[in-house]
């Protein structure tokens, strides 16, 4: 069997499959709609940060070790893992919103820098790889308890500043569009 022929045939079938997907799937949103939607720009999960920090704090576990039963400790650890997974999913959702916003800004800009676009694509790939790696570790319970305890430190570094920054970016973009010489109007102009 000739492997190069198999490779050509495989590529042909793959391209046809992607083409079919591109042909029959629909776009969910138009760029303008995404940019003007406040919900898309916000990373709302950050606002739950204090609660998650409290839930994951080491002091709770230390307290339970001395006062609580082993079954309770086990259940709490299980709950902590669930919280960690939920947080991870929320982090991903925030990341994707930011990425979404970046694409919309790119598509509405008269000039786009290849380097910036490639960097955002690379960051997306890196994030996806790490996300699934950590997610699988959490799901299969191979995560060290120390790591779960450290989660609070990690998320505290991802500050509420991000939410403010994204909202500000959205406002600046909307303001820029309003005064853009290409538009002849604001965001609602067509």
């Amino acid at each position: 069997m000739n492997y190069s022929l198999l490779a050509f045939a495989g590529l042909g079938v793959l391209l046809l499959a992607v083409l079919a997907w591109l042909s029959f799937s629909r776009l969910r949103n138009k760029p303008e709609a995404i940019l003007s939607s406040r919900a898309e720009r916000e990373c709302r999960h950050i606002s739950y940060l204090p609660h998650i920090k409290q839930a994951l704090s080491d002091s709770d576990i230390d307290f339970l070790k001395t006062r609580g039963s082993p079954s309770l400790l086990k259940r709490i650890r299980k709950d902590r893992r669930r919280i960690a997974i939920t947080y991870l999913e929320a982090l991903r959702s925030d990341f994707e919103k930011l990425l979404h916003f970046a694409r919309v800004v790119a598509v509405m800009s008269p000039e786009v820098e290849v380097v910036q676009e490639l960097q955002s694509a690379r960051l997306h790939l890196e994030f996806s790889y790490r996300y699934y790696l950590i997610y699988l570790r959490l799901v299969f319970g191979v995560a060290p308890s120390q790591a779960l305890g450290n989660l609070s430190d990690i998320i505290s570094a991802l500050t509420v500043r991000m939410e403010t920054a994204i909202t500000e970016l959205g406002e600046r973009a909307a303001l820029g569009a309003e005064f853009s010489p290409f538009n002849g109007g604001g965001m609602d102009a067509s």
């Binding site: 045939a9 008269p110 786009v112 290849v114 955002s120 790490r130």
Partner: protein
């Protein structure tokens, strides 16, 4: 007549010429010739190719050297015309998105350069072999580049006018079919199947007929005037994009620190 083609192939050939004529008529009647001059030129070239090839085959026979040379030159010409027609449609579809069009344009140029280098390396000076590989290579890279552009269009949520989308997807579909045909028929069936040539032509022409029907249907519909999308001032992108990438990098780092997965590269 000295051609060795079966009557099925000849009927399909006639149907293809008739459909191309129909597409050309639609382009003229709907006044799309000025909007899609390169696509129109491609259709006209294809029509000319069909009529001239028929004449050459009739005069010299389809197995003659003259017919072989003419067929390959005609094919090369239409392939170049197809590339130009595709770029024209892509440009029309993305005319309002200057920044992204610049990205797509670079992507297409990189793909074209890549195919040229691959063919030059693969042929190693053998002209006739290079011709065969060039045909398959062209279709493969053409389809890959077009799929990449369509993926990019989707990635950036660009809504392409359905007529242009159908034209582009049909081009891509035909190239994918040609790659599969050249690979499956020439590679796997050629040693075993005596009517390989006729079967290859029938399948290739049937797929092209499908493409022509799709084009005729798409072009028969009115193409609405594209409303100009909202455009941000150029400086906003240069301010916002690095900031967003910085935020993405920070989030990535948070995830990396989760279990010390390794420092991401800058």
């Amino acid at each position: 007549m000295r051609t060795a083609f079966s009557s099925t192939v000849q009927y399909l050939w006639a149907a293809s010429a008739a459909l191309q004529l129909l597409v050309f008529t639609i382009l003229v009647i709907r006044g799309l010739v000025r909007k899609l001059p390169l696509f129109t030129a491609y259709i006209v070239l294809n029509l000319c190719q069909a009529f001239l090839l028929y004449a050459v085959y009739k005069r010299f026979g389809n197995l003659s050297h003259a017919a072989y040379l003419f067929a390959w030159w005609a094919e090369a010409t239409t392939l170049v015309a197809r590339a130009f027609a595709t770029v024209e449609i892509l440009k029309l579809a993305m005319a309002s998105y200057r920044g992204i069009w610049a990205l797509v344009w670079r992507l297409l140029a990189a793909c074209a350069l890549f195919v040229l280098i691959c063919i030059a390396l693969a042929s190693r000076g053998d002209a006739s072999w290079a011709l065969m590989e060039a045909d398959r290579g062209y279709h493969l890279i053409f389809a890959t580049a077009l799929v990449a552009c369509l993926v990019l269009i989707r990635h950036y949520f660009i809504a392409v006018e359905p007529t242009y989308k159908i034209l582009l997807i049909s081009f891509c579909f035909y190239s994918c079919i040609k790659v599969l045909l050249n690979t499956v028929f020439q590679g796997f069936l050629y040693p075993q199947y005596i009517h390989f040539g006729a079967a290859w032509q029938i399948v290739a022409m049937l797929s092209y007929l499908l493409v022509l029907i799709a084009w005729a249907a798409a072009l028969a519909r009115p193409i609405p005037l594209q409303s100009a999308p909202q455009v941000l001032p150029a400086h906003l992108y240069t301010q916002i994009s690095p900031e967003i990438n910085f935020q993405l990098h920070a989030m990535n780092k948070q995830l990396m620190n989760f279990w010390n997965l390794g420092e991401p590269r800058h």
